[in-house]
Amino acid sequence: MQTTNHPLPYLGYGLGLRVEYYESLLEQPGKVEWLEIVSENYMVAGGRPLVWLDRFRERFPMVMHGVSMSIGSTDPLDEDYLTRLAALARRVQPAWISDHLCWTGVQGINLHDLMPLPYTEEALAHVVDRVRRVQDVLGRRILLENVSSYIHFADAQLTEWQFLAAVAERADCLILLDINNIYVSAHNHGFSPLDYLDGIPAARVQQFHLAGHEDGGPLLIDTHDAPIIDGVWQLYRQALRRYGRVSTMIERDDHMPPLAELLAELNDARSIAEPLLQAAA
């Protein structure tokens, strides 16, 4: 694999860059230490999105987070998508690039959702091969994120965390651990979130996501439209104990509050993590 294997930096506490916060974040960045962009929002020819992107890139360390790589799909890898992603990476020079351990469509149709994979040996071999090929194209290791899910497949041979860990080890990629997604999927599928944390190799964990979700009745729905709940904060503490210092960011995609509220929430993450990490040190 033609990749650079420099250790990736620790970035601190960051936010997802969203249009709603463009102006307020430039005026009052508070203690936002880095930004995560949704790659597809900036895979455009020109205009306002790239102007804003460059403005923020001058001021903040940045990572790229995609939603459309569809690494688990049985359709061919989208070469056009990867070419555009690589071009954006040349512009942004991100600290790292991530996407999701999922498939988003097949037969040329896109569901615009993060569909879970069946956790089978066949799917594992398929994903590992594709991650290696993507890493060759991008010339770097990527991060894969665990998704929230609502269906489970009858023929699963592995747990989700066994599958994620095996992909990371065999393809030599890194992990973006979404703490909220673990919480949501643990509830929806009836597994222990602590078993999940225990099953993930610490050396592969490069980033945490935190977010809110919706209690949609019997199942929890990953909506990113509400504050982070106590149960997710508790799981964040457990993750910090297991993995140590990991770059952390908050995702908010709907019911956008004033920036000050998100900054306060980010400060909550810092206030939880720093004493715990210092005590552990």
């Binding site: 020109g46 205009g47 469509g105 097949v106 615009h112 959702d113 089978t120 609502y150 009858a154 199942l219």
Partner: protein, 258 residues
């Protein structure tokens, strides 16, 4: 069952109008497989509908309470094929031209074209504006053969209605205007200057001259086009006036080499 077959079955189940039984999915005591699958089925439709609503605010203003239903019908008739959800909007105008009952109201497809032109103009490739001072150095005898290179992102939207009023009302959050029909087809120009997208109605003579300029016709040929609308003495001053406006609006990207 192979991974490919499984993904195809799940995809078809998400696209289906009703949640089918999939033996490959498991129930448990918390929820059955059908209601679990329904989260993806509903999510697909809601996500596309919400994304398209953002790209077609003028159409939303014209359709009012019927907008959501139209979008649902479009999404059901046309599965999304692009990784960028917004690009699913590329087919809406064509859908409104053939699908009942909307095809009976041509203003809908026209307005969809305007909304989509504005949307695609927003993040079209950046292009440099032509410096008007460069024209000052063009010798008088070179003007007839001068050919302007207009910006690639310019779009023309033909319409027989006051569709621009609906887009303006949507952008300004003002009341829904009254739909008016015109005997003659009007042409709307959509363009971007710096980072701001603009649109305006073209007079018939300007549309003709602009069409010629887009084709790369010479300045003399553009003046000839204007002569069809004006006396000989007025065609040239009108062309100069149009050129001034095109330069001020940032429509001109340069000039072709002789």
């Amino acid at each position: 069952m192979s991974l490919q077959e499984l993904q195809q079955r799940v995809l078809q189940a998400v696209l289906a109008e009703r949640s089918p039984f999939l033996r490959e999915l498991r129930d448990d005591e918390r929820a059955d497989a059908a209601s679990r699958l329904a989260i993806y089925r509903n999510g697909y439709r809601v996500r596309l509908r919400d994304a398209l609503a953002i790209e077609f605010p003028g159409l939303g203003k014209l359709l009012g309470g019927r907008f959501a239903r139209m979008l649902e019908r479009y999404v059901d008739a046309h599965p999304s094929e692009h990784y960028n959800i917004r690009w699913h909007g590329a087919g809406i105008a064509a859908f409104l031209r053939y699908a009942l009952p909307w095809r009976e109201k041509p203003a809908l497809a026209e307005l969809a074209e305007l909304d989509w032109a504005i949307s695609t103009c927003f993040d079209a490739a950046d292009e440099a504006e032509f410096d008007a001072a460069e024209l000052a150095s063009v010798p008088a005898d070179a003007w007839p053969a001068l050919r302007l290179r207009l910006q690639n992102h310019l779009q023309l939207v033909p319409t027989c209605h006051n569709i621009e009023a609906f887009r303006r009302a949507a952008d300004g959050s003002s009341h829904r205007p009254r739909l008016r029909r015109y005997e003659q087809t009007r042409q709307l120009l959509v363009w971007r200057q710096s980072l701001t997208v603009h649109y305006r109605v073209l007079a018939a003579d300007e549309f003709s001259a602009l069409t010629g300029a887009i084709k790369g016709e010479s300045f003399a040929a553009l003046c000839e086009r204007l002569a069809a609308f004006h006396d000989d003495a007025e065609a040239m001053p009108r062309m100069v006036g149009l050129l001034r406006q095109w330069l001020a609006d940032g429509l001109v990207g340069g000039r072709f080499a002789d």
